[in-house]
């Protein structure tokens, strides 16, 4: 009684809506609709902009009120670091939420039913998120940088320094966000992934502080040079933070790019092999 019997297929339904194959562009439009229709986006990015502007202007005003600029050979752009550090926490949160909230609500099943190509969904999320964060961070960082240079008298920054403090800062933050998005995909849990990302940001510095032993000095120096906040400082300054071994110039952006690509590659592999 349970054997399936072949049946003459009756008339089958044909939809009057024209059928066309969906592509990455459709997924991008969809992800843009998703990210712009959530309040968490407004909150995280809004807070980030406010922090960067507030801290940037505040530091510039305080320094300008002081008699003279402390570091003679550094341009005023370096003060953008504080805002960038705080802004990175907001970006990490948004990066995790972009995907982990879909897992939290179960929306991911609906999404992957509407688009069985999981890689396309992840790629579209990454592109939309990157573009949004890069644009907003670069614009904000530019405003802050212009204000700081105008308010504080110091050596005139070079073109390369200008680029690093604006586009470089935007790229660095957006790439950090992509790492968070990948971690969110791997962990599938908002709170867990956000905690991990903040740990990744703070742990190296905290751990380095307790590495008093001489035998660990190599590890300590490496941690101090390559911790995320140190990389942000390096992005602004012309000399490496810890001796000559640390990243300089555009190095932090390249390091983050490699990290983001690696993390997204892992997320892609896991997403494709796992049950949703």
């Amino acid at each position: 009684m349970t054997a399936p019997t072949p049946s003459p297929a009756p008339h089958s339904y044909v939809s009057p809506i024209p059928v066309r194959r969906a592509h990455l562009g459709d997924a991008l439009a969809s992800e843009w609709t998703k990210i712009r229709s959530l309040r968490s986006t407004m909150w995280t990015l809004g807070v980030m902009v406010l922090l960067m502007l507030g801290v940037g202007f505040g530091v510039a005003l305080i320094v300008a009120a002081a008699s003279e600029y402390p570091a003679e050979n550094e341009s005023a752009l370096g003060m953008g670091f504080f805002g960038l550090l705080l802004g990175s926490i907001c970006v990490m949160t948004l990066g995790v939420l972009t995907i982990a909230s879909e897992y939290g609500t179960g929306m991911i099943r609906t999404t992957l039913t509407a688009c069985p190509s999981r890689g396309r969904v992840l790629l579209a999320k990454a592109i939309v998120f990157f573009a949004l964060v890069f644009t907003i961070t670069t614009l904000t960082a530019t405003v802050v940088a212009v204000a700081q240079v105008a308010l504080v008298s110091g050596p005139e920054p070079t073109v390369d320094q200008w680029l690093r403090a604006t586009v470089g800062a935007g790229l660095f933050l957006a790439l950090t966000g992509l790492v968070s998005l990948a971690v969110g995909t791997l962990i599938r849990h908002s709170a867990g992934a956000i905690t991990i990302m903040i740990g990744v940001m703070l742990m190296p510095l905290v751990a380095a502080m307790f590495m008093m032993a001489e035998s660990l000095s190599g590890v300590r120096d490496w941690l101090l040079a390559y911790a995320l906040p140190s990389q942000m400082i390096a992005l602004y300054s012309s000399v490496p933070v810890e001796g000559a071994s640390g990243p300089t110039g555009w190095d932090p952006v390249w390091i983050m790019l490699v990290l983001a690509l690696g993390a997204l590659g892992g997320a892609f592999a896991v997403l494709n092999s796992r049950d949703v």
Partner: protein
């Protein structure tokens, strides 16, 4: 057309679905029944390529779902009405899905109209009631105007008007030549909606047949016969005659007889032959619920027990009346009665009291 062949899914040591083979054909509503935890949702997820089968395969129109060209235009599904981001408005939720599938945006407003959510389309779905959430889920399933539709518990939380609407919608979708696969716990609803049934228990196929056949195969229809009250000899005479003719006769608590194995006209003829008057001769078609209960009895994972509040009761003192041993439940031979015959005219206990010449004995 959905076709599963030897579908098996294991989660660690637990086998959720085992060696499941079935076909869901277009043009009819196919019901998918099974007790809680029997693997219905797992099967649905495997059909949609969300979970990977441990063994076997399931195809839609000949392709596994992930390889289906234009999958969202061919298959629509409501898996879980809560699978939406509550912070997003109904319209934006549907718009993002439409964009993802390459469906024109005006279709979003069409399906919002179909499910009757236009008024709340711009509200965040967090505040939606269970029924509104179901409607939103159904809208998402209809978005691509697909040929194959899967609904997991679509009437959960809907009001009677909504249930009627879903029933008509399912039937309409099927009549347009689509494949409609619906799981539900509401047997009465399934009996009205589905044409074909696939029943699973503990992850294995129990039945795959039309509803009518399913009821006939899993429960016996019978006739209820009532002889004049107060004349037991008439009843005994009729019982003897019916038994002699090959019928199975069971006595019901209120004095009626339950006769199986004899058609109604034959019962009437036999009664006439035995010179017995009949007060009632009614056909009783078993319900889908009875048939389902009977079939899945052995396959229920989560069975409730009586809450006896044992720890709150003082231990019974010997020789003192009180709650003693609870009475052992009697397992009925026949399926539970689905309905009760209305009392004969004049004996309606809810009507205004009338002088009664035959005092009813207390039961």
């Amino acid at each position: 057309m959905i076709e599963a062949i030897g579908l098996t899914k294991r989660y660690g040591a637990k086998t959720a679905v085992y060696n499941l083979s079935f076909q869901v054909r277009p043009g009819v509503v196919t019901g998918f029944l099974g007790p809680n935890g029997s693997g219905k949702s797992t099967t649905m997820r495997m059909i949609l390529g969300l979970d990977r089968p441990t063994a076997g395969s399931v195809t839609i129109g000949g392709h596994p779902f992930p390889q289906l060209p234009n999958a969202p235009r061919q298959v629509g599904a409501l898996l879980d009405a809560k699978a939406v981001h509550g912070g997003r408005s109904a319209r934006n939720h549907l718009l993002s899905l439409a964009q993802l599938a390459g469906i024109p945006a005006q279709r979003v407003d069409e399906v919002l109209g179909v499910v009757g959510l236009q008024e709340v389309a711009r509200q965040r779905s967090k505040g939606f009631s269970l029924g509104m959430g179901q409607r939103l889920g159904i809208a998402a399933a209809l978005l691509g105007d697909p040929q194959v539709l899967l609904f997991d518990e679509p009437v959960n939380g809907l009001d009677p008007e909504g249930i009627l609407w879903v029933r008509n919608l399912m039937r309409k979708l099927a009549s347009e030549g689509r494949t409609v696969f619906v799981s539900s716990h509401l047997m009465s609803e399934m009996a009205l909606t589905a044409d074909h049934l696939i029943v699973i228990g503990r992850g294995q196929l129990l039945a795959d047949m039309p509803v009518r056949e399913f009821i006939a195969a899993n429960s016996a229809g019978f006739a209820r016969v009532r002889t004049p009250e107060g004349e037991p000899e008439q009843r005994e005479k009729l019982t003897a005659a019916l038994t002699e003719a090959g019928g199975q006769v069971l006595s019901e608590p209120d004095g009626a007889l339950r006769v199986a194995g004899l058609p109604l006209p034959r019962i009437s003829d036999l009664a006439h032959g035995a010179d017995v008057r009949l007060w009632e001769l009614s056909p009783h078609q078993a319900s889908l619920e009875e048939a389902y209960m009977r079939l899945t009895q052995g396959a229920v994972d989560y069975r409730s027990t009586d809450d006896r509040l044992a720890h709150l009761q003082a231990p019974p003192q010997p020789g003192q009346p009180g709650y003693g041993q609870p009475p052992q439940p009697v397992i009925p031979e026949v399926p539970q009665q689905g309905w009760y015959a209305p009392p004969p005219p004049g004996q309606n206990p809810y009507a205004s009291p009338q002088p009664s010449d035959t005092p009813k004995d207390a039961r």
